[in-house]
């Protein structure tokens, strides 16, 4: 099994903040907007260095999204920042009409996604955002896995013409992707080759998938691990190539089963090579208060859950 040394731990939102600061220095058209969560989104450094390109919207997300759409007219590239819940469900119609349908070059950057937001509880733990955003025509949906990948993704989306939803999180998680790895939108990454089962993971679940693959190897099961950082457009080729070899798949994500990466993979496979699949995801329930680790365990999003899903799906081949 390929080794991925842990280079440290950091929150993915810091990858966004550091990427945004770098963009500020390299691309004068990049502007940033925030709805009263500048510290939480790690946008302070950009705000301090480029005050004239930073727009504080206050607790008024609908207006922020509309303004971002308007700011593209004349060549600016707005990066909006707030929690994932307030970036999606709170402003869905504004995103739909003013950004997606209007084909505006806005980057909707969303932190504190999923259960790992932790103690604040279900009001803030959006688990439906990937589904909502991938349903919108013209919307590119990205969910990177660690600090390095989030920073690289932040920088990459500035050069992509069109609406993007970039999702990241609050807790400190292992850094294991190379710092100098360029981010290719829509291109999955084969992290480990295997022959018995394919694990397709996104976001915080990618590291857990690697942990699971390591334990599976000890049990004599060879797991292929794919990092899908771009939910839409989906890298169909990397998934199909793997599944043709392993004949079964487990998808893993910090999201509802409904609307998530797993459904995208299912939809692909049922149209091409129908394949047994197990879902490691939240099953039609809201979250609750707790520590991120406690919540991931209670809602079945740990490495041990990926392992059981792999064992179950292999039996269905």
């Amino acid at each position: 099994m390929k080794e991925y040394p842990v280079l440290g731990t950091k929150d993915t939102r810091s990858g966004f903040g550091d990427g945004l600061l770098e963009l500020g220095r390299t691309n004068e058209n990049v502007v940033a907007m925030c709805a009263d969560l500048t510290g939480s989104l790690k946008m302070n450094a950009f705000q301090d260095e480029f005050p004239e390109r930073f727009f504080q919207a206050g607790i008024a997300e609908a207006n922020m999204i509309g303004m971002a759409a308007g700011m593209t007219i004349g060549g600016k590239i707005p990066f909006t920042g707030t929690f994932a819940n307030f970036s999606t469900s709170r402003v869905y119609d504004q995103v739909r009409q003013s950004i997606a349908y209007s084909e505006k070059n806005v980057k909707i950057c969303a932190s504190h996604a999923g259960l790992t937001l932790g103690e604040d509880g279900a009001t803030h733990q959006v688990l439906e955002d990937l589904g909502m955003m991938k349903m919108l025509p013209n919307m590119c949906v990205i969910n990177p896995c660690d600090y390095n990948q989030t920073k690289a993704a932040t920088i990459a989306i500035a050069d992509y013409e069109g609406p993007v939803y970039l999702r990241f999180g609050r807790p400190k998680v292992p850094i294991f992707m190379p710092e100098d790895m360029p981010f290719e939108i829509g291109k999955g990454i084969l992290l480990n080759e295997g022959t018995d089962v394919t694990i397709v993971a996104t976001g915080h679940l990618v590291w857990k998938a690697l942990e699971a693959a390591k334990e599976l190897e000890a049990k004599g099961i060879s797991a292929e691990v794919i990092n899908i950082h771009t939910i839409k457009p989906l890298d169909e080729e990397i998934i199909l190539n793997s599944v043709m070899k392993t004949k079964c798949v487990v998808t893993a994500e910090e999201h509802q089963i409904a609307g998530g990466l797993g459904e995208s993979v299912s939809s692909l496979l049922c149209r091409t090579i129908p394949t047994p699949q197990e879902f490691v995801a939240v099953d039609d329930t809201f979250g609750e208060s707790g520590t991120p680790d406690e919540l991931m365990t209670k809602y079945g999003l740990d490495a041990v859950d990926i392992i059981s899903a792999c064992e179950a799906v292999i039996k269905r081949k």
Binding site: I73, G75, Q97
Partner: protein
């Protein structure tokens, strides 16, 4: 200097276009469209610094206009066509399959003159403020204009935007409210009263102009020029423009019933009999 005679002639033809477009597919919103003819004609034929022949999405060094109450698309489409953005014959495709003239304005089909989709209400003021901020970043002197329905002001996003623009001194935007007092379900006062609208905008920190003759071309030109003179002074500018829904077609006036209903053949003939064909029907 505004050519009022020419603009009156355009206005009459635009009114004919509106009722014919809505009649042709038995759907659309004639009432608000007819009420806003003078605003659109004054804007596009006198006030705006714009480049109809070579439309560009970014509109650098041009004034920009955003229609927030997208359902009155017929008046906008007609005025855009008469201004030279696209051929007048294309008005015949309004609301039909494969048309660039969608029921509510959209950018996806690449119709010249449209920079944002609108229809779901309350979003255009935010868009306008964003565009105005980009003009400031680009060191442009050009202005941004927006138009809103009065019923639309019931949407909360409008007031988020109102608060933002004043707090951030976005003083290169001129918003106008089509203050006709009517919405789909009835009179605005009966559906959800706006109360002291002038007082509300003033309290939100806007410069407010009230024009009671929103269907008088000279009055509209004058109030828009007055609004222009108030830009660049630290405050966003609002025009409350009193108009008559259905203006120009007697049976459509004085009621909310023609907000979103199309005339039948007989009603169309009646309407056209009241509106002089000045520039040739499309």
């Amino acid at each position: 200097m505004a050519d009022i005679t020419k603009m009156k002639s355009v206005s009459s033809q635009v009114r004919r276009d509106i009722v014919r477009m809505v009649h042709a597919n038995n759907s659309g919103h004639p009432g608000g469209s007819l009420g806003c003819v003078e605003y659109f004609v004054a804007l596009y034929f006198d006030i705006l610094n714009h480049n109809a022949a070579d439309f560009d999405m970014d509109g650098i060094d041009e004034d920009l206009f955003f229609l927030s109450n997208g359902h009155i698309s017929p008046v906008w489409y007609s005025v855009l066509a008469h201004s030279g953005y696209f051929e007048k014959s294309e008005l015949a495709t309004f609301r039909k399959l494969n048309s660039r003239l969608q029921g509510h304005p959209a950018t996806e089909e690449g119709l010249e003159g449209i920079r944002i989709a609108s229809g779901s209400l309350g979003q255009g003021l935010s868009v306008g403020i964003g565009a105005a901020q980009t003009k400031k970043l680009n060191n442009e002197d050009s202005l941004v204009y927006t138009l809103h329905g009065d019923g639309e002001l019931q949407e909360g996003q409008i007031w988020e935007a109102a608060m933002y623009a004043a707090a951030n001194k976005v003083d290169n935007i001129i918003a106008t409210v089509d203050y006709n007092g009517r919405q789909i379900d009835g009179d605005v006062d009966d559906v959800l009263s706006l109360g002291d609208l002038e007082g509300k905008w003033k309290a939100f920190g806007w410069e407010v102009l009230v024009e009671d003759n929103g269907n008088d071309l000279e009055a509209v030109v004058n109030v828009l020029n007055k609004a222009k003179s108030l830009t660049g002074k630290g405050k966003p500018v609002m025009i409350l423009l009193r108009t008559e829904m259905g203006q120009g077609v007697d049976y459509m006036m004085g009621t909310h019933k023609w907000h979103g209903s199309a005339p039948n053949d007989e009603q169309l003939a009646n309407a056209l009999g009241q509106l002089e064909e000045t520039l040739g029907d499309y």
